[in-house]
Symmetry: C2
Subunit: 157 residues, 2 copies
DNA sequence: CGCACTTAGATTGTGCACAATTCAATTACC
DNA sequence: GGTAATTGAATTGTGCACAATCTAAGTGCG
C-alpha cells in the first residue's frame, strides 16, 4: 500500500507503474540469475543457456531438437548454433533418426554425462545463493509458471 | 529432505531440481514477457529493452547513460548501441554535459515524449494479459526483487 | 505416380547482453 | 603546474534470441 513513488515529471500521464514494475523485476531477476551462474559455469565451459540445455538432457537423454526447444521455449534458430557448440565441446552428439531423417537426436557423450557430477555442486551453490527456503522458491516458481502460461495464452489479438 | 520429485533417469545422481526449476521458470517467464510485449510494441517501433529504457526516461527525463544502466542493470556496451537506435528513431537526443563532458545526457524529443501516450495502452493490455490481480503482481514482484538482491549480493568468492 | 501440404532443422539478418579494451575528461596528489 | 588514478562512454568480440526464409523429408489425396 501507499506506493509512495515520487514522480518527477508530472506533466504527462504516468499510469500506475505496477505492471511496469513487474516487468522490470522479471527482467532484472533473469539477468541476476545469469550473472550468478556465470562464475560457477565458467569453469565447466558452459554458458547459462547451454547449462539449461544440458539440464534437460541429464533429465532425459536422446531428445530431439524440437523437444528441447519446447521445454525451454526456444526455436531452432537459437538451438542449432548452441547445440553445435556443445558438439564441438564434445558434450553431445547429433544424429538423425533412421525412421524419420528430419529429426535430430541429441545424445550425451560420456564427457557430457560426466559433467553432471560437477553440475550438482553448481545447483547447490545457487540454492544457497538465493537464500530462499524451498517453500519460498516453490511459491515463487509457481507464480512465474502461472504468469508465463497466461502471457503465452494470448493470441495477441 | 524429502524433495519428492520424480526423476526419470535414476542412473546418475540428479539432485532435487527445485532450484533448477526456479531458474527454468524465471527464464521462461522473462521470454514470455518479451513475446507478449512484442506485438504491442511493434506498432510503436520499439523492442522490449528499448521500451524499458523509454519507461525510465518517461519517469525521469535527462538521465545519464550510467544512471539508466544502473536502473536496468545494463552496461554501456549494451546501452550505447541501443540508445543510438533510439536517437536514429528521433525518440531521444544525446548531449554531453557541459560541466562534465564525460557524461552523456539522454533527453526525450517531443516525439519521444509523445510516445508515452501510446505506451499507456500497452501497459493496460499487458496488465490484462497477465490476468493477475494487483496483489498477485505485487507479491510476485517483491519475491523477484528480493531474489535478485540476494543473487547479486554474492561476491562470487 | 504426381502434386500440394506439413514438419524438422538449418541459415540469415537484426538486436540484446556482457567482458575486455580503449579513449577522453575529471580528480587527486605531489 | 604536472603526473597518476579514476570515471563515463564507446568499441570489439562472443554468444543468445527470434523472425523470416530455405531445404529436405515425410504425408495425403487425386
Amino acid at each position: 500500500m501507499t506506493s509512495g513513488r515520487k514522480t518527477k515529471t508530472p506533466k504527462s500521464p504516468t499510469p500506475a507503474p505496477v505492471d511496469a514494475m513487474l516487468c522490470f523485476a522479471i527482467y532484472g531477476a533473469a539477468h541476476a540469475f545469469t550473472r550468478a551462474y556465470k562464475p560457477l559455469l565458467d569453469p565447466l565451459g558452459l554458458t547459462y543457456p547451454q547449462y539449461l540445455v544440458m539440464l534437460t538432457l541429464w533429465e532425459e537423454d536422446g531428445q530431439s531438437v524440437k523437444t528441447i526447444g519446447e521445454r525451454l521455449g526456444l526455436d531452432s534458430g537459437t538451438l542449432s548454433p548452441l547445440l553445435k557448440r556443445l558438439e564441438q565441446a564434445r558434450l553431445v552428439m547429433r544424429r538423425r533418426y533412421t525412421q524419420d531423417e528430419r529429426q535430430v537426436r541429441i545424445q550425451l557423450t560420456p564427457k557430457g554425462d560426466a559433467l553432471r557430477q560437477k553440475a550438482v555442486g553448481v545447483m547447490q551453490e545457487i540454492g544457497s545463493a538465493t537464500g530462499c527456503s524451498l517453500n519460498e522458491a516453490e511459491t515463487l516458481r509457481e507464480g512465474l509458471v502461472d504468469l508465463r502460461r497466461r502471457l503465452l495464452k494470448q493470441p495477441t489479438t
